[in-house]
Symmetry: C2
DNA sequence: TAGTGGTCTAGACCACATA
DNA sequence: ATGTGGTCTAGACCACTAT
C-alpha cells in the first residue's frame, strides 16, 4: 500500500500475494479486482495490474465473469527415451486428464503429411481432431493424420472419449512408436487460439511427431499438438539419473 | 481506430503493426506511444496497450527512455546429439554473439556441485560468472563451476572476453564433453533478473549441464545458464533429418 | 441482477536516456 | 530540455457468468 521505496505498488502487492499463493490450493479463488482495490486502498486499475502480473508469472489464471484462480504448473518432460504422454504427464501430478475427439474427417492427404507418411499422390487420410482437458479445463488440442487404408471404418470404431492409442493397438493391431519428435514454444495461431476458446493468442508448447509401426515397418501417423504454456512447462532432459 | 466489430481497438492496431513488422529490419524503431496515439486518434494508454501486446508476442522489445524496437527470435535448438553452443547459435542467425567474464571467484564447493563433480568435502572450485550479449544487447548470463585443482592460476589466464572452452582445451588440455544436460522454461529469479539488468522478472530458458573430460574420465565442470525467452525460442528435436 | 474481468479515455507524475 | 516508457488515479461502458 505505502510505496515506501521505489518498487511500484502493483509489484509489491503482487509479491505479497505470490508468496501466499505457494501454499494455496490450486483452483481456489483470489480476491477480485474490486476487493483487492478496496483492501489495499488502490484504484481498480492498479489492483488489476497486480492480478495481471500474477497471470504473467503463470501463478493464476483469470476468466472473464468468473474470477481469478490459483494455477498449478505441470512439468512437460521431454527426453531422448520417450515422447511424453499427455495423460500420464497429467496423472502424475494428481490431476485428472481427459481427451475428447472433436471430429474424424476423411480427406486427401496434404502434401507435407503425404511425404511424412510415404503415401502416393491422392492417398486418403483420417484427420482426427482432439481436445485435451485437465480437471475439465480446456488446456490443449491436437491433430492426428492416419493413413486411411490402415484403419478402415475408424469413425464408427473410435468413440468420443476413447484413447486413440488403445484403438490402434487393440482394434487394428498397430503399435505406433515415435520415430521423429519435435517440441517448441510458440505463440498460438489464430486457428489454435479459437480451438482453445481464448481471445488473445496464448503461448503454447507445440509438438509434432511421426510414429511408425514396427510390424509394418512404415510410418503410420503424424501428430501435431498444442498445450497451453501457462498450464504446462517444457522441460528437456538428456543423460543423468 | 474504428471498432467496427467486437475486436478491441488495441488488438486491431496490434494486428496491423504485427503484419508490417514481418518485413521490418530487426533493431529498427517503432513509433512511440505518443506518436501512435496521435496517428490513430487513441488515448496514450490504448496506444501503450498496442505496443505491450506486441511485446507480449515477442515481436518487439521496449526500453525505458529509448523506445520500442523490432525484435528477432533466435531458435535455441536442443537435440540428443549435442548441447547447443551460445556463440554458434547466435552466429548462425547472422547476429554477433559476445561473452564476457564478470568475475572469477575461488570458493568452497556448494554441496550440490560437490556431488556432481565428485569432489571431497571442503574441495575448492572456481565460480566463473559470465554475461551473454547479442549485438551488444545483454540477453543472458551463466555460472560455471570448475574444480580448482584442474585449472591452477585460472584468474590470470582467462581474460575478460576470452572463450572459456578455448582456455580449457588449449590452456589446460581439458576437453569438456557434455554428459548431462537439462533445459527448461522458467521465470527468472530475482538474482538473475538483476544480473540481466531488468525490472520485471523475465521468462528464461534455463539450462544446466555437467561436462566430463574423456581423458581424465571424470566430471570437470557444472554450468548453469539463463537466456531471455523473448530473445531465444526453445526448440527440441529427436530423430529425423 | 450483481459481480467478474476487459476495454477505453482523461490527465498526472515519475525515472531514464539522449542530445 | 525533450522525449521515451512506467506507474497511478478517476471514472466510464462493455461482455460474460453466476444466482
Amino acid at each position: 500500500m505505502a510505496p515506501s521505496t521505489d518498487t511500484p505498488t502493483y509489484l509489491a502487492v503482487a509479491g505479497v500475494l505470490a508468496r501466499s499463493l505457494s501454499s494455496a490450493k490450486p483452483g481456489s479463488r483470489l480476491p477480485s479486482e474490486n476487493e483487492l482495490a478496496r483492501t489495499y486502498g488502490l484504484h481498480r486499475q492498479t489492483a488489476r495490474a497486480v492480478l495481471q502480473e500474477l497471470e504473467r508469472r503463470h501463478l493464476v489464471r483469470r476468466v472473464r465473469g468468473r474470477g481469478t484462480f490459483v494455477a498449478s504448473l505441470i512439468d512437460y518432460r521431454v527426453g531422448p527415451g520417450a515422447a511424453p504422454s499427455f495423460s500420464e504427464t497429467v496423472r502424475r501430478t494428481g490431476a485428472a486428464p481427459r481427451s475428447e475427439t472433436e471430429s474424424i474427417r476423411l480427406r486427401a492427404a496434404p502434401a507435407a503429411v503425404r511425404a511424412e507418411l510415404e503415401l502416393a499422390t491422392g492417398a486418403q487420410v483420417y484427420l482426427i481432431s482432439r481436445r485435451r482437458f485437465v480437471d475439465d479445463e480446456l488446456v490443449g488440442c491436437g491433430d492426428t493424420y492416419l493413413a486411411a487404408d490402415l484403419v478402415p471404418d475408424l469413425p464408427r470404431r473410435l468413440h468420443r472419449s476413447a484413447s486413440l492409442y488403445e484403438a490402434l493397438t487393440e482394434g487394428y493391431d498397430l503399435e505406433p512408436v515415435r520415430a521423429v519428435y519435435r517440441a517448441e514454444v510458440e505463440l498460438a495461431s489464430e486457428r489454435v487460439t479459437r480451438r482453445l476458446g481464448l481471445d488473445a493468442q496464448p503461448w503454447t508448447i507445440a509438438t509434432r511427431g511421426i510414429a511408425e509401426c514396427a510390424r509394418l515397418r512404415r510410418p503410420i501417423e503424424v501428430t501435431a499438438g498444442w498445450l497451453r504454456a501457462d498450464v504446462f512447462r517444457l522441460v528437456v532432459e538428456f543423460g543423468g539419473r
